[in-house]
């Protein structure tokens, strides 16, 4: 990792409150260009809130967040232009065709029509949707829609790509392809912020794993370093650090209910 360089994302003392409940409890984080960050944590730990702040969707937070040296509160639009965001289970207007949808997305990022069309055509072909570029998406499977969403997240050539459960609904071949794509994008110097509950994937693709629990980062390091400190698999690390060491306990309770 190029840790001598300036961080592409810099978060310091980040706090977020919903009424009297504190969701983020002072997060400090520097992320460097080309890193693939695996961002994991239990439900309700504050993952989505961090991502939304990072993408400029939530503005009332405490602390400082900069992306590519730009203070997100000073110039939210400039930050949004540098980020490619694919939310979890995102909806799209499925009466449109992929080309029409991507044209719309491109134009929202102020791209000219020609560039959008060219990139959309190439990306759709790359994702195996070339034949369906002019079919309405209402007949598409979940995986096909997810591919279109992924393309919409990278079509404007962002510096930082934030992916929330990007593999949901994809078949095995597409999963392999997306994993390779993520590695290639990182090699190109793009920073990937990857949120997921699929530990095996996070374990394999991330070169830095961040574990958030109850609004605070409780682990930060490579998979190897986490393994040496806390356990053999990422699942074990996760269970230990988020307070669930004996996973068999709950499962046996469920089973006993069927007696």
């Amino acid at each position: 990792m190029n840790e001598q360089a300036q961080p592409i994302i810099s978060i310091s003392r980040l706090e977020k409150w919903y009424d009297s409940k504190q969701i983020l409890k002072g997060i400090d984080l520097d992320i460097y260009p080309g890193q693939i960050i695996g961002y994991i944590g239990p439900n309700g730990a504050g993952k989505s809130t961090t991502v939304k702040i990072l993408c400029g969707l939530i503005s009332d937070f405490r602390g400082d967040v900069t992306v590519a040296g730009i203070d997100i509160r000073q110039d939210t639009l400039a930050v949004k232009a540098k980020i490619g965001y694919v939310p979890e289970n995102a909806e799209l207007y499925d009466v449109l065709t992929p080309m029409e949808y991507l044209d719309f997305m491109g134009k929202l990022y102020s791209m000219d029509e020609e560039t959008t069309r060219r990139r959309a055509g190439l990306l759709l072909h790359g994702f195996g949707l070339g034949e369906h570029r002019d079919s309405r998406m209402d007949t598409f499977s979940k995986g096909m829609r997810q591919k279109v969403l992924l393309i919409s997240g990278i079509i404007h050539n962002p510096t930082v790509i934030v992916l929330d459960e990007p593999l949901s609904g994809l078949d095995a071949n597409a999963v392999i392809m997306v994993k390779e794509l993520i590695a290639l994008l990182a090699k190109e110097g793009k920073t990937i912020f990857y949120c997921s509950h699929m530990m095996d994937v996070v374990e394999k693709i991330s070169d830095r794993i961040l574990l958030i629990n109850e609004g605070a980062i409780v682990a930060d390091g490579t998979f190897e370093s986490l393994k040496n400190e806390h356990g053999e698999t990422l699942e074990r690390v996760f269970a230990r650090l988020t307070g669930r060491t004996d996973s068999n306990l709950d499962a046996s309770h469920i089973l006993s209910a069927l007696d």
Binding site: G56, T76, A90, Y93, L108, T139
Partner: protein, 558 residues
């Protein structure tokens, strides 16, 4: 009330059991489905769902609307002198209303794909499932029928006695079953030829047709019925009437009330036997072909994807580069142009209002303004249109479409897809909204003005051009005002609401435009004045559009 009908239908338990139906599961499935129905708004009515239970819910409202419709159908009894013709027309209209409602409202039941995931994976046998579907439709059909025919039944029983009243009930059932068969056949054919999406498009188009038919019937019905040839019509002397099923059904009553003639007997026999043959066909068709087709439709694997040919340059993509100045404006233009053309919900809501204009046009042309009873020659009618005043009204009537388009523009079933507006760096929402405005004007207002102009020039001469231009300018100004005052969200970013909002604001703006329209009407003969007004209005529009693009749109919620 539906629950009551269900109880009646489930009474012959032994019969259902003999047919191999699991009556407990049948009751369970139907009860759940009827509860679901009661909580879902009815498509052709646009009613809101009610949280109240039982009779006071949707069912009651539906019953009331049907009863009002039924009361309107009674016009035949009072306006047509010959009772045989009157009853034939009554049954014809009743069957039309039922068929259109079956197509519009019951399509969700007929082709409900959720059954594939909820019921079929459970241990429910095919026969029980098939019968549950038939009975479900049957219950709803009965619910519609009772409301619709109640006024007619009361009238018949009072004027012609209890026996004829009982025959009337039989006739209603006959007509109901016959209609169900016809609708079913329609679906069978359509499912065979069309993809699921096209079928749904067709259904929504038919809903629009339903609205247009109702509006037209309301305006033209009474006038047509007063015509001499309708009054002099006799079934016995008009052989082409003998082929229509409503006439067969009406014959039964004539048989009960009046004379015995060979024609009556034959037609009545046809009336009695057709529904029996139909019923047999319906059961057979429902149990076999239909379910298979629906099942096939529900699985995504075998589904056809309708590909739009890439070579085909669509209107929207042709107009967008001409009418917009930046990618952001083009995005606003395209999204509105494309989704309004394809979203079923939007079309269902907007198209009926589009249909008002041609209906009003024909109405005004043939029957004039408020003088419906005075018979006038075609030349007289032309003369009235020739002075241009008729067209002025129609120009301004087109504005209703614009208002309606705005009302539904922010709503969409997939409103959650609007996350893109928040994630993307939309620097000047005003520019985006200018694209939206241009799309709305180009799609829902200017074509009407253009159409009326093309129609108007041969009738009223070139003098109408400046009137059209002035009306277009005033309409465009109106569009900006409506957008500024009523659009509080990005297009297609809000859940679908059943009732329109901002009614008062819209009414106020419309009132202002009405005044301008009236001024236009007053000065219509001063050609030069109209031209000057035209220039001024377009100038104001240009300035307003410039300001509109710079608007911050703080109120926009994605």
């Amino acid at each position: 009330m539906n629950k009551l009908i269900l109880k009646l239908l489930l009474l012959p338990t032994a019969l259902w059991k003999r047919m191999g139906v699991d009556t407990e599961k049948l009751r369970l499935i139907l009860e759940v489905k009827l509860t679901l129905d009661d909580r879902r708004p009815f498509a052709s009515m646009g009613q809101s769902s009610s949280k109240k239970k039982g009779w006071s819910g949707n069912t009651f409202l539906q019953f009331l609307v049907m009863a009002v419709m039924g009361a309107m159908l009674m016009a035949y009894f009072f306006m047509v002198s010959n009772s045989y013709v009157a009853y034939s027309l009554y049954f014809f209209s009743m069957m039309c209303v039922l068929a259109l409602m079956l197509i519009a409202d019951l399509s969700t039941i007929l082709i409900d794909p959720r059954d594939q995931y909820i019921i079929l994976p459970r241990p429910v046998d095919d026969r029980t499932f098939a019968v549950s579907r038939i009975l479900h439709i049957g219950v709803l059909l009965m619910g519609l029928l009772i409301g619709l025919v109640l006024p007619g039944l009361v009238y018949t029983a009072i004027t012609q006695g209890i026996v004829v009243g009982l025959v009337f009930i039989f006739q209603v059932f006959t007509a109901g079953i016959l209609t169900l068969l016809l609708v079913n056949q329609f679906y069978l054919m359509m499912i065979k030829w069309l993809s699921a999406r096209r079928l749904k498009d067709l259904v929504s188009m038919l809903q629009v047709v339903f609205t247009v038919v109702v509006i037209s019937a309301y305006y033209f019905g009474p006038i047509l019925l007063r015509q001499d040839w309708v009054q002099q019509l006799r079934v016995e002397e008009t052989p082409w009437l003998w082929v229509f099923p409503p006439v067969w059904i009406a014959s039964l009553q004539q048989l009960a009330a009046q004379s015995l003639s060979w024609l009556m007997v034959v037609l009545s026999l046809l009336g009695v036997t057709t529904p029996m043959v139909s019923l047999w066909l319906v059961v057979r068709i429902f149990a076999t072909g239909f379910n298979d087709k629906v099942a096939a439709m529900a699985t995504g694997d075998g589904q056809r994807t309708d590909t739009d040919r890439p070579s085909k340059r669509k209107w929207g993509s042709r107009l967008s580069p001409v009418l917009t100045r930046s990618p952001l404006e083009s995005a606003g233009f395209n999204i509105v142009w494309l989704i309004t053309g394809r979203s079923r919900e939007f079309k269902q809501k907007l198209y009926p209002t589009l249909a008002y204009i041609p209906v009003y046009f024909v109405f005004f042309f043939f029957f004039g303004f408020g003088k419906q009873d005075t018979p006038r020659s075609f030349e007289d009618k032309l003369e009235q249109m020739r002075d241009g005043s008729g067209f002025i009204l129609l120009f301004y009537l087109s504005l209703f479409t614009l208002i309606s388009a705005y009302q539904y523009l922010t709503q969409h079933e997939q409103f959650k897809a609007a996350w893109v507006y928040r994630a993307a760096p939309v620097s000047s929402p005003g520019v985006f909204m200018a694209g939206v405005l241009k799309a709305v004007l180009t799609k829902f207002f200017y074509p009407f003005i253009l159409g009326l102009l093309l129609l108007g020039v041969p009738i009223a001469g070139f003098g109408i051009i400046n009137d059209a231009l002035l009306a277009a300018a005033i309409g465009s100004i109106e569009a900006i005002l409506v957008a500024l005052f009523t659009m509080k969200a990005y297009p297609f970013s809000q859940p679908i609401k059943l009732s329109g909002s901002n009614f008062m604001t819209t009414l106020l703006i419309m009132g202002g435009v009405g005044v301008l329209g009236y001024a236009h009407y007053v000065f219509i003969r001063h050609e030069l004045l109209v031209w000057v007004a035209c220039l001024v209005a377009w100038g104001i529009f240009a300035v307003m559009l410039h300001r509109f693009r710079k608007e911050e749109w703080e109120a926009l919620r994605a």
